[in-house]
């Protein structure tokens, strides 16, 4: 048995983010659960959008007073929001759960770089999926509402493109939030619990409290500030909504950074 071999020397002086990202990309797409999660993200969103939008079709013209067809078309995104968070969380929790984390950190021991590579890859994938999804929702909405007397809502109308592109961006941010929670919590069940609580339970809880704090919660921001073309009172503006979501994402990522760099795997 011989183990002698000659490996070609690497081109750069040390491994870096490029190598780490390439590995993370390969990791993400070499397990079946990734494809399942993405399938649920896309199909789940489109099915809910289709069902919900179908019930808004074929009404009398008077019914469409103040109707926001763009927002209506994004109604399935709650499913996508849930599924993309699962995808993000699994990027970390599946490694901690299986023990892969030890071979990963032995291969790329600088932990900040390791975390950053994972976030870059899952963030890019979630963003791309999010954009494909929101444009698909937009097209699906048009197909379903086409023969109904809805107000004009082409991409060139004010606020429509912002709503479609912006909603896609939020899917990217939610993927990052899920990943950051996964990095901080390490366990799939725990990460999912926190993610679902943040997205779905917190608004229910805050809705019963005074001060209209519910308008600051992520899913309410996405549904009523970012995905909305017709503005309603009681919700933050799209710009404020984006800034808030970005702040939440950064805060969770910082938490993940602290845990990953301080706590040994």
């Amino acid at each position: 048995m011989t183990t002698i071999t000659v490996l070609p020397a690497p081109r750069s002086s040390r491994y870096g983010l490029r190598q780490a990202c390439r590995a993370e990309w390969a990791k993400l797409f070499s397990i079946r659960s990734t494809w399942w999660t993405l399938f649920v993200t896309v199909v789940g969103t489109l099915v809910v959008t289709a069902l919900s939008t179908a019930s808004a079709a074929h009404h009398q013209p008077g019914w469409y007073q103040g109707f926001d067809p763009t927002n209506q078309s994004m109604s399935g995104l709650a499913i996508g929001a849930l599924a993309i968070g699962v995808l993000g969380a699994l990027v970390f929790t599946s490694e901690y759960g299986s023990g892969t984390i030890r071979s990963s950190m032995a291969a790329t021991p600088r932990r900040l770089e390791f975390l950053l590579a994972k976030l870059l890859v899952v963030g890019a994938v979630a963003l791309a999926v999010g954009e494909v999804l929101t444009f698909s929702c937009f097209a699906l909405g048009h197909a379903i509402l086409g023969s109904s007397p809805v107000p004009s809502w082409s991409l060139t109308d004010p606020g429509v493109l912002r709503s479609v592109v912006g909603s896609g961006v939020t899917i990217g941010l939610l993927g990052l939030m899920g990943a950051a929670i996964g990095a901080a919590v390490r366990r799939t069940a725990g990460a999912m619990g926190i993610y679902v609580a943040l997205l779905f339970l917190l608004p229910i809880l805050l809705a019963k409290m005074p001060g209209n704090l519910v308008r600051f919660t992520p899913l309410i921001i996405i549904a009523n500030s970012i995905a909305a073309v017709v503005r309603h009172t009681g919700f933050v503006s799209p710009v404020v909504g984006f800034v808030l979501l970005a702040c939440y994402t950064v805060a969770l990522i910082l938490l993940g950074v602290v845990v990953v760099t301080r706590r040994d795997p």
């Binding site: 048995m1 690497p10 491994y15 190598q19 590995a23 070499s30 299986s98 892969t100 071979s103 990963s104």
Partner: protein, 319 residues
């Protein structure tokens, strides 16, 4: 020879428990260094600190003169098998290695090569979750060899392997060392270390007990002896003492001579015209030496006696 792993005053405290205590040793190239200690003695924690996976409470562990986390191409410098299950069960063996290869710019041809070395070529496209413990160990070893590193760490590599697999690992470790690599392998199996290692770092309860060669370790602790059965014990003992040897009286009416080779004892018997019925060179087993040394350092011990006994040099057997 310059050391490639240098552990200096390494200490790891988990809450109230001190897993590793002021541990210092060196690992040098070209030999297999065995890392021996009872279960729970801090071997894995030490290895994890060398790999940068656990942060030491104090002290340092350097690989090629650097902390592991500062290595430029970690997999090309150090390969490690720390955990038989350090892979995702849903990923194929090939994919697992491919992902590792990307991190250190290792060409994918090398993935095929290491799968061949560990004998997993035919199951390379099977999901690793379906692997037996032994196949998991082989996949872990493939990962360790991936970057063709000069330093290799193996934590209990023979766990879960069948006898054929155990011999394969033993030969692999020895051939890696023969190629000039530094091989650091932990085990709680003394017999395995006796066959595999050249040098020994022995720890108990996280502290260093011995840092020596396998040969010196057995010779110093318990030592070699010559067992003699004679009808005239008194004359024999007197003769040995005159010749400068030491004598232990063994309960079965034989005499154990220390400090003399069996040849010297034979010549002494002829010179002194003594009657001897039996003369057997005895080798203290590595196990005896280990038991003797770690007697106070074993964290969890069964009730039985661990008294040292001499065994015949012919009977290598299962220790």
């Amino acid at each position: 020879m310059s050391s490639v792993i240098s552990v200096n005053s390494l200490t790891k405290q988990f809450g109230n428990a001190r897993a590793v205590s002021n541990l210092s040793f060196e690992v040098v190239p070209g030999v297999v260094t065995g890392f021996l200690g009872p279960n729970g003695s801090g071997k894995s924690t030490t290895m994890r600190m060398i790999m940068g996976l656990d942060t030491p409470t104090s002290g340092t562990a350097l690989v090629n003169g650097k902390p592991y986390t500062e290595l430029n191409w970690p997999l090309r410098e150090v390969g490690a098998l720390l955990d038989a299950k350090a892979f995702h069960p849903a990923r194929t063996a090939y994919s697992h290695l491919r992902c590792l290869a990307y991190t250190n710019d290792v060409p994918l041809a090398r993935v095929e090569q290491v799968l061949g070395i560990v004998g997993l070529t035919e199951v390379g496209t099977k999901r690793a979750g379906k692997f037996s413990l032994g196949m998991g160990q082989r996949l872990g070893i493939a990962g360790a060899l991936l970057g063709d590193p000069g330093v290799l760490l193996f934590d209990e590599p023979v766990n879960g392997l069948d006898p054929e697999g155990i011999r394969w690992v033993r030969n692999l470790l020895r051939s890696l060392a023969a190629e000039g690599r530094s091989v650091f392998v932990s085990s709680h199996l003394i017999s395995e270390m006796a066959l595999t290692a050249d040098r020994l770092v022995v720890i108990g309860r996280g502290a260093l007990i011995a840092d020596t060669t396998v040969r010196d370790f057995t010779a110093l602790n318990g030592g070699d002896a010559v067992r003699v059965v004679t009808p005239d014990v008194e004359s024999f003992v007197a003769a040995v003492r005159r010749a400068g040897g030491e004598v232990d009286l063994v309960p079965d009416d034989s005499v154990a001579v220390r400090g003399m080779t069996s040849a010297a004892v034979g010549e002494l018997i002829a010179r002194e015209r003594l009657i001897v019925h039996e003369l057997t060179p005895m080798r203290a087993s590595l196990e005896d030496a280990f038991m003797e040394l770690t007697r106070d350092a074993v964290e969890y011990r069964s009730g039985g006696s661990t008294g040292a006994a001499l065994v015949g040099s012919g009977g290598e057997g299962e220790l």
